[in-house]
Amino acid sequence: MTMPEAQPLEGRPLNAEPLAVDPPVLRVANLAKSYDLPTSLLSRIARRGDKATLRALDGVELQLNRGEILALVGESGSGKSTLAKILVGSTAATAGEIEYHGAPMPARRGKDDSRRIQMVFQDPYSSLNPRLTVGAMLRELLVLHSIVPAKQVREESKRLLNLVGLEEDALDAYPSQFSGGQRQRIAIARALAVRPDILIADEPVSALDVSVQATVLDLFATLRRDLGLSILFVAHNLAVVQHLSDRVAVMYLGRIVEVAETAELFRNPRHPYTRALIDSIPRMSAGSVTEAFQLEGEPPSPFDVPSGCRFNPRCPYAVDACRTTDPVLETVAPAHLSACIRASELTELAVARV
């Protein structure tokens, strides 16, 4: 991978044909997750029984198509990690549906259900059991799910390691003997061991050295191409996914606010928040700074979501209607969804401001 460029990459590498003919491998509708925080006795007396409710996810709509890399981008606290946890089934949603290949996913997943959606974690130091050798880790999964006959387990483990760019002598080593990037490759091999068709990657490169990030990103691209995996790639930074993903979904305060193909999103963002994210990517050229608009303030507390559009307190284009109407995710251009009532005017507004 090269440094992020000012101009988004033209066209997508493969899968350039519309993917709409396939049913999505994963689709979530109206997904919500809220936590009721236990309040102290004192505050309960003062506020007369008001419960503090944290809305981590609030009506999330998203679909992952077969064989695509979908990037999920948002600030810390936007709920993207919560969404990832719900998708793999390690946390239960409060409301909403998850469909896997068009059929509803059971709330309590069996061994085979959980096998199909695997996860790569952010921190490769916490995601590998320090007491298991790489070989033992893979063997356990291969045997438990009867992926290959017992005699071929070692062969299969070697194949998995080669797949992620590691040598076979890693089999007998412990995780502590590897660097961060190598550990992340091992974590990917573990996820692939059970032959999933969906990979959820929760900021898999943000804990890695910048020099290693690119090679791990390349690995995801290779795996998608060679294995036909569908990948949901969670990131807090658009620059990371610019060259990797087919589509990008932007998340703000527990909701998806814009979804579009990557090139389209960079060229023609239809949500002010997306535009702010794009402008926040560091650029090499000098003149661009004047064009950028920067977000002010912190995202509002998920305990107290603003009325109307949840972005309105930070939005430079907010009008009165934005403070009363909660916009829904609508098609604003072919294969381009945005949750902004001024989505259609946004292109001209952005130009007018400069």
């Binding site: 061994k111 096998r115 996860m119 974690f121 921190d123 916490s126 995601s127 320090p130 660097s179 996820a191």
Partner: protein, 294 residues
């Protein structure tokens, strides 16, 4: 995809990393080796007591009481004319056996309960931890002495009394470690891998949390030997005439001004045993924590 040159480079890097981060062999660990040598020597003495001890440890010779060290009795004799060296050697057997066994029972019991409470949480955890708090509220020695009083003196009641009091420490240690371990991503990954709670607890969490309990167990053996010695000193320990370091210190203190070795040498044995076990615990903590290995 990587070019052949990059691939080669990555492979070389991996080789180098594997070599440079290779684990320090256990025999290069100073504390561990010191512990093994000291504890090993004591265990050897205890096991070989029938061969090593020159005299019967409980045979009295009332014509030769309170003898000073001599060629026949290297450390002299006590007030009943029993050979002190022989009693010291046989005493190692009793004290080490009681020490190890008094740790084994609460270790197993406490660790299992603590692990279950920590992993599953909920009301089970709440009830168990309140019980633990009650036990912690009483001083160790007070509880042990009261229980030995109730059960009557003797080896079995010492095991029971110590086990009844000290399982709470293991439960608390293991529970705390499990609470940390179960939040680690590798546990989530194991769940996503379709593994059952039992398998995760035994195979993935267990090995990561037991090291702390094992290390604590080593120092607990020291504590228990001290407890036995204390009980022996208070006359509540192993019933006489069985040779045991605590009762030897107790017997010898009467003559501390004339025959200092009678109480001092068994006391030194307690110190040496404690030191050896502490070294062993320290060495094991290095060995059992791969993330801390350099």
């Amino acid at each position: 995809m990587m070019s052949p040159a990059e691939l080669l480079n990555a492979r070389l890097q991996q080789r180098r990393a594997l070599r440079s981060r290779s684990i320090k062999p256990w025999y290069r660990n100073g504390a561990l080796m010191a512990g093994i040598v000291i504890v090993g020597a004591l265990v050897l003495i205890a096991v070989l007591a029938p061969l090593l001890a020159p005299y019967d440890p409980i045979a009295q010779d009332l014509r030769n009481t309170l003898a000073s060290p001599s060629a026949e009795h290297w450390l002299g004799t006590d007030k009943f004319g029993r050979d002190i060296l022989s009693r010291l050697i046989w005493g190692a057997q009793v004290d080490l056996r009681v020490g190890f066994l008094a740790v084994l029972i609460p270790f197993v019991f406490g660790s299992v309960l603590g692990a279950i409470a920590g992993y599953f949480g909920g009301w089970l955890d709440t009830i168990l931890m309140r019980i633990v708090d009650v036990f912690f509220a009483f001083p160790f020695y007070v509880m042990v002495i009261v229980l030995v009083f109730i059960f009557g003196s003797g080896e079995a009641s010492i095991y029971l009394a110590i086990a009844a009091v000290s399982w709470v420490s293991y439960a608390k240690i293991v529970r705390g470690e499990v609470l940390v371990a179960k939040k680690q991503d590798y546990v989530t990954a194991a769940r996503l891998g379709g593994m059952s709670h039992g398998r995760i607890l035994v195979k993935h969490i267990g090995p990561n949390v037991l090291s702390q309990a094992i290390i604590y167990g080593m120092s607990d053996i020291v504590m228990d030997i001290m407890a036995i010695v204390t009980l022996g000193y208070l006359g509540l320990g192993i019933a006489p005439p069985t040779a045991e370091w605590g009762s030897m210190i107790n017997d010898g203190q009467e003559f501390i001004t004339t025959q200092w070795q009678q109480a001092t040498i068994p006391g030194l044995m307690v110190v040496v045993a404690s030191l050896g076990l502490s070294f062993l615990g320290d060495g094991l903590s290095d060995l059992l924590s791969p993330e801390r290995r350099k």
